[in-house]
């Protein structure tokens, strides 16, 4: 009897409630990660899938064509319970002004899914939802009626597409070439003009450059003529569309990126479209104020920045770690240094950003400009934010990560291995280079991957040191010296911030932001996971040195 009472008391004080509470905290943490990932996955992957267009007829007679976006319960104004409403994407920004519309469910009379509804993805003004009425070529009717037009479209789209390709080549290659040469010549001329004492040959050079510039100018106007001709040809074809509410809209075929009839597609076709859109997202430049198109320049900028950062951070970090662990005399000084390094890891990234701005951009960049690019001043070359400065800033930001992990790796190499090498007559450097560093390489590599993962997701310091919403040209191109490290660049993380918070039409831009977010998370998580796996693999491979 007494025993059972005691057991009961023991049971009460065993704190299982507390255990459950700690379990609750863990569950909340897991719930947060899971929720976030599911949220981003569902939003980020769904946007490329062509959803059905529905035609909503309201009781007041108005008709809307659009895709259902979300449902919401709202309080009635008189407080008599809730009513449900739908948000539909009606697109046609140039007609309605807004991309979205709220409709009360109670107001809807009927919903149908018209098979002939057509979606146009356009170069500007976003998508167009409606029905084709006719296709014209310089006012000459080519096809009339929805089905006839759609049947005729591929042929003409193809034709326009070929013209567009030519136009693109002229714009992106020939005109760019000319303007690049012109800029180079102008700079050359300016630097000659800035000389203190000009010789005769200098003056001749100036005249010569003038002649070359003139020639380029003629070449330019010629190309421009050609371009205008091509454009008028491409702009001959006009697709007349009707919005569901009856407004007509003429759209140049040249402005259409893609067209499809979502209600008339099977799963296979939809999958094809999904892949095409996903590919466009990954491989195209953005358009329509970054709200549509792709993110290739941002991917490119992110990757190049990370590469430059890695080139800077690995030698620096490893050198520092080797110093701290192998060469420095262990004592108070090294202890202070170690605290400083650990401290640097905790310094807010924006502080690094502002340091990069003050030191790299203004001090170093400004000096480089005065020494080597005096002819283009006051326009800064290196004295303004650019990919090199952003990368170096991130290298500083991430170097503590590499130092700490590399040091851990060095510390893990057993003393016996080092002593063995030294006893066989190797110098300290040889021991380090041939024996210690290879064994520590997994840690160094892990450090690098962690640094890259941190750098890929960091945005605040970049905003200060050279990231832009739309870079006119990539940091690598076909013009000498091919890698232009002074150029501004785009970045996936900044793209999220910019499109999500600075774009004029945030609602319409959200799908783009989700997709970019997913891509960034994918890159960062993949890097982190690869760090984990690589560490394991390399540890096994070099396990022999731990004998």
């Amino acid at each position: 009897m007494e025993k059972s009472k005691k057991t009961k008391k023991y049971k009460q004080s065993d704190g299982h409630i507390w255990i459950w509470l700690t379990a609750l905290s863990t569950a909340i943490g897991l719930f947060m990660i899971g929720g976030l990932l599911i949220l981003i996955l569902s939003n980020g992957l769904g946007i490329f899938w062509p959803s059905h267009l529905q035609q909503f007829k309201l009781k007041n007679g108005s008709i809307y064509l659009g895709e259902e976006w979300e449902q919401e319960k709202v309080k009635n104004e008189d407080g008599s319970g809730n009513s449900e409403r739908l948000r539909i994407k009606i697109a046609n920004r140039d007609i309605y002004g807004l991309d979205f519309k709220w409709i009360d469910k109670a107001d809807i009379e009927s919903i149908i899914e018209p098979d002939s509804a057509l979606v146009l993805e356009r170069m500007a003004w976003g998508q167009f939802y409606g029905f084709a009425s006719k296709l014209t070529d310089n006012d000459q009717l080519l096809a009339a009626g929805n089905s006839a037009v759609i049947a005729a479209l591929p042929k003409y789209m193809d034709e326009v597409g070929k013209l567009q390709e030519k136009i693109n080549r002229i714009e992106k290659v020939e005109i760019k070439d000319i303007s690049y040469q012109t800029d180079a010549l102008r700079l050359q001329q300016k630097s000659i003009e800035q000389k203190e004492d000009k010789t005769d040959s200098d003056n001749q050079d100036i005249v010569k450059i003038d002649a070359q510039l003139q020639e380029l100018h003629e070449q330019f106007s010629e190309t421009e003529q050609q371009l205008i001709k091509l454009r008028t040809e491409a702009n001959r074809y006009i697709l007349e569309m009707l919005a569901v509410s009856g407004e007509p809209k003429s759209i140049l075929l040249a402005d259409i990126v893609r067209y499809f009839q979502p209600n008339d597609m099977n799963v296979l076709q939809k999958s094809g479209l999904y892949i095409a859109r996903l590919w466009e997202f990954l491989s195209d430049a953005p358009r329509e104020a970054n709200m549509e198109g792709g993110v290739l320049p941002a991917i490119f900028g992110t990757v190049l920045m990370v590469i430059i950062m890695s080139i800077a951070v690995v030698p620096l970090g490893v050198l520092a770690a080797v110093y701290l662990r192998e060469y420095a005399k262990q004592g108070l000084f090294v202890r202070v240094l170690r605290i400083a390094v650990n401290n640097l890891a905790g310094v807010p990234s924006i502080v690094y950003g502002i340091f990069g701005l003050g030191f790299f951009v203004y001090v170093i960049g400004g000096s480089i400009d005065r020494l080597f690019f005096a002819e283009s001043l006051p326009n800064p070359t290196y004295g303004t934010g650019g990919i090199l400065w952003a990368s170096l800033t991130l290298a500083l930001l991430t170097v503590p990560v590499v130092i700490v992990t590399a040091e851990e790796g060095l510390a893990a190499v057993p003393r016996s291995v080092r002593e063995g090498s030294l006893a066989l007559g190797a110098t300290k450097f040889e021991t380090l280079w041939r024996v210690v560093l290879p064994s520590a390489s997994p840690s160094i590599f892990t450090g690098l991957i962690l640094a890259v993962a941190r750098a890929a997701g960091e945005v605040a310091p970049l905003m200060v040191t050279g990231v832009v919403k739309l870079a006119p040209s990539l940091p690598i191109d076909g013009y000498f010296p091919y890698i232009h490290l002074e150029r501004k660049f785009m970045h996936l993380g900044f793209h999220i911030y910019d499109v999500g918070f600075q774009s004029p039409n945030v609602e319409a831009a959200l799908p783009m932001v989700y997709a970019t977010t997913l891509l960034l998370i994918f890159i960062v998580v993949a890097l982190n996971l690869s760090a984990v796996f690589l560490r394991k693999r390399l540890q096994q491979r070099f396990a022999v040195t731990h004998l």
């Binding site: 004080s13 065993d14 704190g15 507390w18 255990i19 459950w20 509470l21 700690t22 379990a23 609750l24 905290s25 863990t26 569950a27 909340i28 943490g29 719930f31 990660i33 976030l36 709202v74 309080k75 407080g79 620096l316 050198l319 520092a320 080797v322 701290l324 192998e326 060469y327 240094l337 605290i339 400083a340 390094v341 401290n343 905790g346 310094v347 807010p348 990234s349 924006i350 502080v351 502002i354 340091f355 701005l357 003050g358 300290k428 450097f429 040889e430 280079w433 890929a456 997701g457 945005v459 605040a460 200060v464 993380g493 999220i496 911030y497 999500g500 918070f501 960062v524 998580v525 982190n528």
Partner: protein, 755 residues
Amino acid sequence: MKKKASAQQKHDQMSFQESQQWRKRKFFDRIARWIVNAGGGLIIASVLGLLLLFVVVIWPLWQSAKVGPAQEITPSFLANKPIIAISSDEYEKIAHILTLDGVVHFYDFEAKKELATDSIALRSGEAIKSVWRSTNTENFAFGTNQGRVVQYTVKFNTRFNEGERSYAPTISVLNQVEMSPDAPEITNLAVVTEGEGNVVIAAVSSANTILLYSKQAAEESFFAEDEPSEVFGVIDGLPASPTQLDIGEGAQALFVGLESGQILKYAINDVSQPERIEEVQGTHNAITMMDFLLGERSLVVGSELGELSIWFEAFNPDGTGARKLRQAHEMTAHASAISSFSASQRNRSFLVGSEDGTLSLQHATNERLLWQNKVSNSAIKLISMTPKGTGALIVDAVNEVHFFPVENPHPETGFSAFFGKIWYEGYSKPDYIWQSSGGSDDFEPKLSLIPLIFGTIKGTIYALLFALPIAVLAAIYVSQFMHWSVKSIVKPSMEIMAALPSVVIGFIGGLWLAPRIQPILPGVLSAILLTPAVAILFSILWKKLPEHIQRRLTAGSEAFVLLPIILLIGYFCIAISHSIEAWLFGGDFQLWLQTSANVSYDQRNAFVVGLVMGFAVIPIIFTIAEDALTNVPRSLTAASLALGATPWQTAWHIVLPSASPGIFSAAMIGLGRAVGETMIVLMATGNTPVMDWNIFNGFRTLSANIAVEIPEAPMGGTLFRTLFFAALLLFGMTFIVNTGAELVRQRVNKKYGKI
């Protein structure tokens, strides 16, 4: 023998080769040592360089102004004709000088030669008795002994021709007004032009009355006459004789300084019926100088004893009442009567001179004395700060002219401006305000860092309030109770959460969570209360179950049992949110907050930031705390369990105290992350620099402020340097926190090393 010799030779050769190779290896070794040491030096250099750069950039903020050395530029053509007005062009090369005989000289004081002269014809027997210069335009006016007021404007007409500046300075008379048919002597005046051709003149006549005049330019209307309308008016019955006049508030108000020290304010929107609307005792001594600062809202009042004060119209300190003239600042006094004044046209600084020849440069808003010196043996009669504020022309009583270079780049700053309450123009009381840029030219930057520090602390506290308990409790669970097979999945996935880019978290917080939380706030709040309660209830019920079921289901996986429960509670709370709102808060929670708790609701607020900052902070605290808990030696827990303690008793009384320094260190590092986090707060708060603990308001942190403002801050400017100072503060805050955590960590390592 021969063989031996050849062997010897061979050996020598080999050792020679070997030693050469050895030397080479030694050489490489030395080089490597040198490079590695240099690398070590590089870390030290970069840490020091970082600090040094900040110090170099910030240093000028704390420096006083530099004035002088003076250059004497007294023109030779004056021949003792007293100078009564002076000004300079913006390049500080040409001076405009008006002498008592009505002649205007343009004087190149760099080359010391006269460029041009012009004169304003005076009638026979007419003499100039008083002069007026407007605060921020090149308009001048003088009053004569025959009751006439002449207003003219100076144009330096600077032209650039192939990098060379040339001048064609001219004057043009804007207005000539006979103030009264009696032709009284005008001893003091104020003239203001408003818009096109409108002018208001106030002039003290020798009879101690103030004559008023206004001219409205002809309106281009159908019915109005073509002639401009002129109106005259008179103010008399003054309590003492007027010494200073100023017209302000868009020519709607006249301020009169009296010999008795009073300041009177008249409404002169209709000059024929001036109305005295205010009367304050500005000083107890005669007012000898009264003039506007830039923006024409603050009056600087100087007395015959050298006292200086700043006055402007403001509400009562509690924000009520009518706007009244109130003394906002007491400036550093001079030893004798204030005789001359010139306001900067760039900021709220001014130069003031006194009878004993002392000149001082002061900044009104933060009451900072930037520079003071005795520059002349006689009274300083005229001061003219150049348009860029980088120089001043000074004329003393013996008619000597000096040019003083002025270097005053950052007068608005200083310790009191950053950390003290400052009474800004137009505000009802001194306050902490951050507002770095504004629309108009005369906008005054308000650079108090206190609201930003407050915002940083607020964000950190709300973030930790949510993150700390969850992270630490989860660490206890995962390290002590969770099944090892699950742990190997849960821990890395928590760590992956640490790698989520903060821009993603900020985006989710600002654009997904914030608008969704707003309508279901009562549901969210009830979920926060309900979840732990339900979990406790569930645990009690669980205990009631037969033991074999308990054994079967929970083997260190309680967390997974709870996951669906969290989901259910969340769904339930959101579903009943509207009902709770209708039942408890009269149908509208935000309205209820506003009316009964006087709390306003911003969509992006500290609550949202607290929640999403958890994504950034929880994994950090969790990982470090979990490591600390796991590292507690097994022997301790084993001993505790062997002595009969329950797992929870062991965890609470043995493991937790042993690991507490590590958990403290984890919390500190989490704190450091929250303090410096930029993108999350930038995106998930409204970034308004308000000081309010309200959880449903936004705030602005130091870090977000830097990110928002640095792109617009010109290099080397006050804002640029102030933002660097903010960054240094942030650095300092995290430095203290991180060093604390690091010291604790090192100590813990030592302690466990012994066990």
